[in-house]
């Protein structure tokens, strides 16, 4: 008796029109037709020759080829009856030992504010801090801000800052050698677009981009380049929002929000601590909105490797609406430019994003 089983860390996700096998160990993914998805849900219960019989002679070769291909790709294996019980499914639990995973500090260029925020973020376990500045910042001040993180438990820092001539490679070399926590630096409003060799900058990913950032409305783009086949992402996405879960953001006025693009303010750092804000149940409202609940996404084969955005959605009134900046249609399997889609015009106008639109 022979059966066919996917390896436990290769998980098939069914979409409206086709399915995706996500390989969580080797971090890759493979598209398969929905008919094959159905076959795979049975092939570890029904013996293979019986399965072939059930699908008839016409389908025999196709199914056989798929099995053999999946075996060749080491995504699944043929096994005997007594082995079936030895290979349990992967548990898709997600646990995280920190109250906050990442935070975004928007437009803050006062040392005093960082001095106040860093211990608070440490207390919440925050692992990653992203600092974004639309305005220019003087190099010494930037260095002093980063120095404050030196003895903190914050592990990684991302910088999005405005380019000026003093932000040359020499300065960046110095910055990345004094602050090993820097994992990325993006310089907006640059003269040209370039990517620096990250090996020469203590493994910091550095890119210059021409575009000037004036607000956070550049964020929220859904693109295959952002897909993640990591175990942590896939499991988190089962019951959580992969963008907003365990995120907190603070803007230049001290307002505490879920992310810089969200309108709602939950307090101000001058009056409340970050911990107090976390304890307001409302603050965590979006954390548990998973793709399974979001319109359209719930039918999409990419839903568990995709990113999400609750700030810019197709229908700004509906918190379960699809991310505005996704151009994928899971019913037709076609990717299109989202910004020129006539159905999205209203939402684009609502968010005052017309300056972002490619024409």
């Amino acid at each position: 008796m022979v059966f066919f089983k996917l390896f436990a860390n290769c998980i098939a996700v069914k979409g409206a029109n086709r399915s995706l096998i996500v390989d969580l160990q080797k971090n890759s993914s493979h598209l398969i037709p929905n008919d094959m998805y159905e076959v795979l849900t049975k092939s570890d219960k029904i013996e293979i020759s019986q399965l072939y019989a059930e699908y008839g002679e016409d389908n025999y070769n196709t199914i056989k080829d798929y099995f053999e291909n999946l075996e060749e790709l080491e995504i699944g294996f043929f096994c005997s009856e007594n082995e079936l019980n030895l290979f349990p499914e992967l548990n898709l639990e997600f646990h995280y030992p920190f109250l906050i995973g990442n935070s975004i500090l928007e437009g803050i260029d006062e040392i005093r504010v960082y001095e106040e925020l860093i211990p608070q973020l440490e207390k919440l376990g925050c692992e990653y801090v992203e600092i974004i500045l639309y305005q220019e910042i003087e190099n010494n001040l930037l260095q002093s801000i980063l120095d404050l993180f030196q003895i903190s438990s914050i592990k990684h820092i991302g910088l999005i800052i405005k380019y000026d001539v003093t932000k040359d490679e020499k300065f960046l070399k110095k910055l990345t050698s004094t602050c090993l926590r820097l994992s990325k630096i993006i310089l907006h409003s640059s003269v040209d677009e370039k990517l620096l060799e990250f090996k020469s900058f203590n493994l910091t990913y550095i890119s210059y981009v021409k575009k000037e950032l004036k607000s956070f409305n550049f964020c929220g783009v859904v693109d295959q380049g952002y897909f993640s086949t990591k175990m942590l992402h896939f499991t988190e996405s089962q019951n959580h929002n992969t963008c907003l879960n365990r995120k907190i953001s603070i803007d230049k006025d001290g307002n505490i929000k879920n992310c810089p693009s969200m309108k709602e303010i939950f307090g101000n750092i001058k009056e409340v601590s970050l911990e107090e804000v976390l304890n307001q149940t409302n603050f965590k409202r979006y954390w548990s909105i998973s793709k399974n609940q979001i319109e359209v996404c719930k039918d999409c084969e990419f839903r568990h490797i995709c990113t999400d955005c609750r700030a810019y959605t197709e229908n700004p009134e509906d918190q379960y609406s699809k991310p505005l900046k996704c151009g994928y249609n899971p019913y037709t399997n076609v990717w299109e430019e989202w910004s020129t889609n006539p159905l999205k015009e209203k939402a684009i106008a609502f968010y005052e994003m017309s300056d972002l639109i490619k024409r």
Binding site: F7, L90, F98, M231
Partner: protein, 311 residues
């Protein structure tokens, strides 16, 4: 308060500590290179270091991860007196380890140094299949074995990483290739018959629970004998595995005999579905089992202290 005895570079300790912090469980991490002073009080010991200071009686649980307590002894001029002091101190240290072993714990220093040869004897007594193996030190004896190319040699002590300062060597298992150059007598070596494998098992055992991972490695010639000989381009497939109940019973039996409540066990499943026991390592790395199988072993270790210690 939980005491963690470990090494500075041990990543797993840091991961477990993340969970202890999250649960707000107090802990002290002692690395092997932390020099300790012991002050003897009426009914207690005070253990101090530059960065911590605690009473033995404050400790309510212990995780012996690896390493040892590096307690400083004040040296005397006289070597004979020094040796006597050392012997006295060794007993005192043993007593501290003993006191700690009475607490809810994951492993203890005393049982952590297992002997592969003894373990294999006990395992076969219990009825666990073990590889056919010999300890040999001469070519003549070696040549008495049939089909020598089916044997491999392994270190008896387990670890075979040698640091020569400007380079280091890692020992891995490879099949014997007896040539003329073999000297007549050689250093006592463990010779083990190669076992055909369907898959290898890496088992993390924690308080009678099994967290097992199967490694499908046979397809790939580079990893045929020892999977430490990694193929990085196409890594082996690692998946969760459920041990048959009769194997679990035997392994629990073995761990009880060895007085180990936790450890990493290696086994092989042969094409005939035999479960062959290779070794147990009480202080082995478990991260490579935890991650691909999504077992959250760091959390499970922390959970033990959350559920079994009361301040």
């Amino acid at each position: 308060m939980i005491l963690i005895i470990t090494e500075e570079a041990d990543y797993s300790s840091s991961m477990v500590i993340n969970w202890l912090l999250y649960y707000r469980i107090n802990f002290i991490r002692i690395n092997e290179n932390d020099e300790l002073h012991v002050e003897c009080l009426l009914n207690d010991f005070r253990i101090t270091n530059n960065s911590f200071n605690f009473l033995l009686s404050e400790i309510k649980g212990m995780w012996y991860r690896r390493g040892f307590l590096n307690i400083k002894i004040e040296k005397s001029e006289n070597e004979i007196i020094n040796n006597f002091k050392k012997a006295e101190f060794a007993k005192l240290k043993q007593y501290i380890y003993y006191k700690l072993s009475l607490l809810p714990n994951i492993n203890s220093f005393t049982n952590s140094d297992v002997n592969k040869l003894v373990v294999n004897d006990i395992a076969s007594e219990i009825g666990i299949i073990t590889p056919q193996e010999y300890i040999l030190s001469s070519k003549d004896e070696l040549l008495l074995l049939d089909d020598l190319s089916q044997y491999a040699t392994k270190s008896i002590s387990g670890s075979a990483i040698l640091d020569f300062g400007n380079f280091y060597t890692i020992g891995y298992t490879s099949l014997l290739n007896i040539t003329e150059e073999y000297s007549k007598f050689f250093f006592p070596s463990l010779i083990q018959k190669y076992i055909k494998k369907k898959y290898e098992l890496r088992i993390f055992f924690l308080h009678d629970q099994f967290y097992t991972m199967a490694i499908f490695s046979q397809r790939d010639e580079t990893t045929r004998v020892d999977f430490r000989n990694y193929n990085r381009k196409n890594p082996n497939r690692n998946v969760p595995f459920e041990l048959p109940i009769e194997i679990k019973v035997k392994l629990i039996n073995l761990m009880n005999r060895l007085k180990l409540n936790s450890g990493s066990i290696d086994m092989i499943v042969t094409p005939n579905n035999e479960y062959v026991f290779l070794e147990v390592n009480p202080i082995g790395q478990y991260g490579m089992v935890s991650v691909p199988c999504n077992y959250y072993l760091d959390m499970k270790i922390a959970n033990f202290f959350k559920n079994n210690t009361y301040e």
